[in-house]
Amino acid sequence: MNEAAVNEAATQKPTAEATGFLYPFLDAEERDQDSLLADLAASARAKARESAALRRSTLEDCAGLVATAAGELARRLAAGGRIFTFGNGGSSTDAATLAALFARPPLGRPLPAWSLTADQAVLTALGNDLGFELVFARQLIAHGRNTDIAIAMSTSGSSKDLTAAFREARKRGMYTVGFSGYDGGEFAESRDVDVCFVVRSQSVHRIQEAQALLGYELWAAVHERLGEQGEY
């Protein structure tokens, strides 16, 4: 493939990962697996460094917000509040992991938290009857009390089902915590969101990795505050 063709192939894939341009030669005769393996390993190390740097800077940037949110979560949990987490796709699984960390922690006291994507019957009933935009908002109408907490994880920060849920949560007096990426999306601007953690990256994967660590930090900070309040 000549250079022009290589450039063209590279520009045809603007959404592909940054490593794509390293391998534009779609060579069916290629046999050098060792060279590919070395490239893959180097790429993995570079991405891991990128992820670590982002996680470190995100924790620094968000330290104040984590403390603020942890204080309010601890206050509400001590008063009988519960946590509801939700998100879409991979973010829904990270939200479910955070709920599991609160509810079934390997160390420390379990606290009431659950994921709003856990029940397929509820999710499909609401999606089918009301539209996907309301799958979480409707559940908060059913469950939400003014002592409760809503936590949504998203990379865009603008998914309609999540912003609708925050609108409902705000209406019901719940405390709302949003995780987003890029420039923060609608979460960052919304008056329905009490605290918005923004992971400043353009990569969905790196955003999710940093959000997972932020969620863990939030959980740990909540336990510290509960300890200070004599809740142990």
Binding site: Y23, L101, A212
Partner: protein, 246 residues
């Protein structure tokens, strides 16, 4: 509460060995997918990880990347679910601690089912050879599964697998790899099999990587469905002790 442990999760980085293991696992994964395999994901103690891996492959976040068959195996008996679902040459990926009983059971049976195995986890490592590819973080903190460390590993696995698809010439195994495979599986010194059903005549239907076969069991009787046996020349020559059976 013990002190927070996030520093290691951030700072440990990815060593030479782990990055090489990831690369090798990604190439095998891409080859299996290219040959039509399904990826079965299980994470019994932290099930959302199984769902995250599955959605990653089925519905890629990067536009233009191909959708690949991946399934989260959940519920009370993942061993039974995989036994009935997985086909020879499929892949199983576990995200679990080394002492997870269901995952240990799956990994022991995988050779009889003809599966390639990947195991992501942290803390104490599985026994050597417990899985074909072990991608491990050595941080012993039990909260590690909730820090994003495993998310990074399976994200990288997905990213590297898709880079491999840009190298179609490398998606069929090299001749030397084939030879190795034949040595292990075809010289018939002792292939792993799982008993499906016992027959009254001193035989049992046994599942091996080659399919279902009728095997003489008089040397190892009594056998029960689910027992693992070594098959040599049409005969079960020994029964594997099953200390990991859940």
């Amino acid at each position: 509460m013990t002190a927070l442990v996030t520093a290691p999760a951030i700072d440990s980085g990815l060593g030479e060995e782990l990055s090489a293991d990831l690369a090798a696992a990604a190439l095998v994964l891409a080859r299996r997918f290219a040959a039509g395999a399904t990826l079965w994901c299980l994470a019994p103690a932290w099930e959302p990880h199984a769902h995250h891996v599955a959605v990653e492959f089925v519905h890629p976040v990067i536009v233009g990347k191909r959708a690949l068959p991946a399934v989260a195996v959940t519920g009370p008996d993942p061993v039974a679910a995989l036994r009935v679902s997985a086909e020879p040459d499929d892949i199983v990926l576990a995200v679990a601690a080394a002492d997870d009983p269901a995952v240990r059971s799956v990994m022991r049976r995988a050779p009889a089912w003809g599966l390639t195995t990947l195991w992501i986890g942290g803390g104490a490592r599985p026994d050597p050879g417990a899985a074909d590819h072990v991608l491990w973080l050595d941080d012993p903190d039990p909260r590690l599964p909730a820090t994003g460390g495993f998310v990074l590993l399976y994200h990288l696995l997905w990213e590297l697998t898709h880079v491999c698809f840009e190298h179609p010439g490398l998606l069929t195994p090299a001749a030397s790899d084939c030879a190795d495979l034949v040595c292990v599986t075809c010289r018939d010194e002792g292939r792993l099999g799982e008993v499906i059903v016992r027959r009254p005549d001193g035989h049992a239907a046994v599942r091996t990587a080659q399919g279902e076969e009728l095997v003489a069991t008089m040397l190892v009787d009594p056998v029960e469905p689910g027992d693992l046996v070594l098959v040599h020349a049409g005969t079960a020559i020994s029964k594997l002790t099953d200390e990991a059976r859940p």
